[in-house]
Symmetry: D2
Subunit: 118 residues, 4 copies
């Protein structure tokens, strides 16, 4: 499976963006993984001083900034998928199936615990 | 825009997974951001000792593990989007447009530099 | 200033550990930064589902695991400092002085805000 | 053991900085772990587009910025240690001893591999 039409369109848009800037030389998977983590760090900084409750009620400005960080993480995630020929949606469905096995409802309802400690 | 049919289907599948385990109580945006960064950290650990060249030639086993970490990051990203009503694809297109303004081809071709230092 | 006797002793112990395993080839600053972030991600995973209150009352087992993750982050931080000849304590004092200028008590008491937004 | 005189002095300086700003309310271990990861993300962003070789030859300006990020990570690490009464140096020595057992020289010389895969 090669992903949806929308994701395919985005994949090509991303490739074009990188290629026309001659940036592919910097986009080794190692660097893409680093950039992804860097952006994830920028995302988390918006939440670090908030209470859990405050984190559900972001101001429009903060929400706008959070959206951009989410976009940045996703951009590098999709670039990394493209390097490896990974279908991101197929990978998510595969992980959900694995998670359903690791975390059976009757064992985990209402509790969060690493599967190897259940 | 509310995303593609595929992403909508996945969004509902994710919600069901969380709800049937009564895990929504743990899924504050604050916690989701933390979980996302934790998974991004797991992803980066697969690359930290590799050379840039080695990072392009992963063994099938390592690639399989990397796929699962990619899935984990994406799962929490989508959960976070769902909490805020953010359309992930729309956010990415918006960020690409912004990046095109910040990084004009003629200024950045072949170089990577933060836009405020161009 | 070149650090305290204790930190100097630790620095030499770390160097010996790496050298006798012929691991210096993997310890480029780029890789050390990645490893540091990977360990910070492992640290954060212990807290991601906890409430702020629960995070102050860790079980002895969890506290022991958190200590090991703290140690891992610090190990890579010290290795990175060693590569660049950075004195970690001097760097912290320099940053505290800068923070005192950026966050004057009368402006920030009781509030957390990025200094460029004060 | 309660750490060296230098670290004790720094610990008290840090506490005073936080207390006089009435920031202790924001310094739950959960939040400190998030802040630490956020700063680790800022650190990694200085290296993400560099080759391993370039990462050893930072410009004075970049090195100065890297020092400040290192300081930020260490600040939050020390604050976290303070919350739990963890002695950071003792923790590092304990982890080094564990690492020596997990990674015996004769098994790992010249190779990097997770100990559970040796």
């Amino acid at each position: 499976m090669n992903g949806t039409d929308e994701l395919e369109r985005l994949r090509h848009r991303l490739r074009a963006f990188v290629t026309e800037r001659d940036w592919d030389q910097f986009h080794t998977p190692k660097n893409l993984a680093m950039a992804l983590v860097g952006e994830a760090g920028e995302l988390i900084e918006h939440f670090q001083w908030l209470t859990p409750e405050q984190s559900t009620e972001l101001s429009p400005q903060t929400l706008g900034e959070v959206e951009l960080e989410i976009a940045d993480v996703l951009l590098f995630l999709l670039a990394l998928c493209d390097k490896f020929g990974v279908d991101p949606l197929a990978a998510v469905y595969r992980k959900l199936t694995l998670n359903a096995q690791r975390y059976p409802v009757e064992k985990v309802r209402g509790r969060v615990m690493k599967y190897d400690k259940l």
